[in-house]
Amino acid sequence: MRLLRTLLFRLVSTAVTLVGVAVIVFVVIRIVPGNPIAMMLPPGATPEDIALLTAHYGLDKSIPEQFFIWAGGVLQGDFGTSITARQPVLTLVLGRLPATLELSIMALVIAVILGGAAALTGTRERGTKIEAGIDVTNGMALSIPDFLWGLILILLFGVAWPLFHISGRVTPSLDLPFTTDFYLFESVIRLRFDIWADIVSHMFLPALALAIPLAAIIGQLLKQSLKETMHFDYVTLARTKGYGETRVITREALPNAVLPTLTLVGVQFTFLIGGTVIIERLFSYQGLGNMAIDAVINRDLPLIQGIVILFAVIFTVVNLVVDLTYALLNPRLRHA
C-alpha cells in the first residue's frame, strides 16, 4: 500500500516536471532569433509566401496560444512536423531513439562491469597497493568528462592503433535486413553475427567514453559500501562457516552493498544519457543527440521541442525505474 502511494506521488511529480520542461523549452525556442521559415524557402520567396508558411506552422499566433495548440496535439500523439525534414516529429524521433537507447545501455553495461570489477577487487585487496591504484585510477576517470574520453579513445584506438570504427553506427555498405531500428538487438535475434560485430565495433568506443566516468562512480561508491558492509557480523559469521574471501564478498556483502549504490547510479545514468548528445556528435553516430544538434543549428523548432521532451521523459522514467527496483530489491520495503 505504501509502495502504491509512493508510486502515485512520483507519477504526479513526474508529470509536473515534464510540463515544466515543456514550457521552458517552448518559451526558450520561441525567442530564437532568425526566422526558420525564411531559411526553408528558396531565395527570392515573396513576403506573402513567408506569411503563408508561417501561418501553416502556427508561428503567427501568440506563444501561449501556440503552446496550447502544441500541447493539445501532444496529448493525441502529434508532436508537429519537422520544418527541415518535413516529416512528423514523432516518426523522426522514434526512428533515432533505438540507436541512442542501444548506445546508452551498452555504456551502462560496460560501466557496471568495469565499476563492479574495480569495487570487488578493491574490497578484496583493501589496504594494499592494489586498492590505492584502483582509487587513483577511479579519481582520474572521474575527473575527465566523457567528451574528452571520447577524443582520447578516438586517438588511441581509432587512429594510433585502429582497432575500432570511430564514425557512424554501421558500415554504410552493409545490407541491413532489419525491420526495427534496434540494430544491435535485431542482429542477435536474426543470428547475423557479422553485422552484430560491425555494429559493436562502431559502438564500442562511444559507449566506453560514456561509461568511464560512470564506471568510476560505481567503483567508488560500491567499494565504499562494500567495505562498510564487510564489518557486519553476518560477514564474519560466514567466514567461520568456511567460506573464502571472494565468496563472502559476493554473496554476503554485495547484495546489501548494492542497494545504497543503486539510487545514486540511477541519477548518474541520466547524466550518461545526457552525454550521448555530444558523444554521438563526436563519433558521427546517428542517434537522437546528433539529430538534436542538427535541429538546433537548422532552427527546426518542432523537432527540438520533441527531442528535448523525449530526453526529459527518458530521464524521469529512468529515475522511476531505479526507485521501483530499489523497492523491489529491498526486502524491508517489499514486505512492508
Binding site: 574528452l148 548528445v277 543527440g289 544538434i293 538546433v296 526529459a312
Partner: protein, 283 residues
C-alpha cells in the same frame, strides 16, 4: 577508514602543487599570450599547411607544435585559446557558484516555500540533457563569450544548489544554529555566520570543479561551432578542426587535447585537494 584518509592526506600535497602549478602557468600564458606566441594565431599561410611538430624531420623551423591545415601556428593558437578558456572558467564558475550556492543555502536553511520552489526548479533542470540545453541556449543567445557564460550559469547552478541545499539542511538540523538564534541572532545572520562557514569547504571544492566543467562546456560549444566567433582561437575549435584531418595531421588535435586534459584534471584535483585541506573533519 583511517588508513584511507591518511593516504589521501599524504597525496594531497603534490596533487595541490602540480595542479596549481599548471593552472598558474596557464594563467601566465593567457596574460602574456601576445609576448609568448611565436606567430600571429590567425595568420594563415597555405604554403605552410599541416607542418608537423619540431621533432619530425619535415618540420618547419619556428613552428614548434606544427601548423593546421590553413598554416596557422598550433602553439600560438593554444596560447591564445587559454585566454578564452580561463576567462570562461573564472567568470562563469564564479557566477554559477554565487547564484547556485545562494539558492541552495536559502532553500536548505529557510525551508518552507523557498525550498519547494528551488527543489522543483532543480527537478525540472535535472530532466534536461545539459549539453543539448547549452547548445539550445547558444542558438537563442547567439554566439559570443557572454552567451557562453550565461549558458553555463543557467545550466549549472543546480550543481551548487543541490549539494549546498543538502549540506545546509544537515547543518540546520544540528543544535548550534538553534542555540545561536536563542542567543539573539536573526535567521539571516545565523545562516551567514553559523551555517555558511561550515558549508564553505564544499562550495570551494565545487567551485574549482565547476571551473573545469566551464572549460569543457566552452570546448564542447566550440566543437559544435557555436562558441565565440570562428576568428578567435579556442581549444574546442582547434579540436573540431583537428578531428577532420585526424589521419593526416594528428598534432592539430593532440596538442589542444592534451592542454584541455591537463587543465580539466588540474581544476578537479585542485578542488579535491582544497576540500581535504579545508575540511575541518579531516584536518
Amino acid at each position: 577508514m583511517l588508513d584511507g584518509r591518511s593516504q589521501v592526506r599524504r597525496r594531497a600535497g603534490p596533487r595541490l602543487w602540480l595542479s596549481g602549478g599548471w593552472l598558474t602557468a596557464l594563467a601566465l600564458a593567457a596574460i602574456f599570450a601576445s609576448f609568448l606566441s611565436p606567430h600571429d594565431p590567425l595568420a594563415q599561410d597555405l604554403f605552410l599547411g599541416r607542418m608537423p611538430p619540431f621533432w619530425v624531420d619535415s618540420a618547419e623551423p619556428g613552428y614548434f607544435l606544427g601548423t593546421d591545415s590553413l598554416g596557422r601556428d598550433v602553439l600560438s593558437r593554444i596560447l591564445y585559446g587559454s585566454r578564452v578558456a580561463l576567462t570562461v572558467a573564472l567568470i562563469a564558475g564564479t557566477l554559477t557558484c554565487l547564484i547556485g550556492a545562494s539558492l541552495g543555502l536559502l532553500a536548505g536553511y529557510l525551508r518552507g516555500w523557498v525550498d519547494v520552489v528551488v527543489s522543483r526548479l532543480i527537478d525540472i533542470w535535472m530532466a534536461f540533457p545539459p549539453v543539448l540545453f547549452s547548445i539550445l541556449l547558444i542558438a537563442v543567445l547567439g554566439p559570443g563569450l557572454i552567451s557562453i557564460i550565461i549558458a553555463i550559469v543557467v545550466i549549472d547552478w543546480t550543481r551548487f544548489a543541490r549539494v549546498v541545499r543538502a549540506e545546509a539542511m544537515a547543518q540546520g538540523a544540528m543544535d548550534y544554529p538553534a542555540s545561536a538564534q536563542v542567543a539573539g541572532r536573526t535567521r539571516l545572520s545565523t545562516m551567514l555566520v553559523e551555517i555558511l562557514p561550515n558549508v564553505l569547504p564544499t562550495i570551494v571544492a565545487l567551485l574549482t570543479l565547476e571551473m573545469g566543467i566551464a572549460v569543457i562546456v566552452e570546448a564542447i560549444l566550440s566543437f559544435v561551432n557555436l562558441s565565440i566567433s570562428t576568428d578567435d582561437p579556442t581549444w574546442g575549435g582547434m579540436i573540431s578542426e583537428g578531428r577532420v584531418s585526424i589521419y593526416q595531421a594528428w598534432w592539430v588535435i593532440v596538442f589542444p587535447l592534451i592542454t584541455l586534459f591537463l587543465t580539466v584534471l588540474s581544476f578537479s584535483q585542485l578542488g579535491e585537494g582544497l576540500k581535504d585541506r579545508f575540511d575541518p573533519v579531516l584536518r
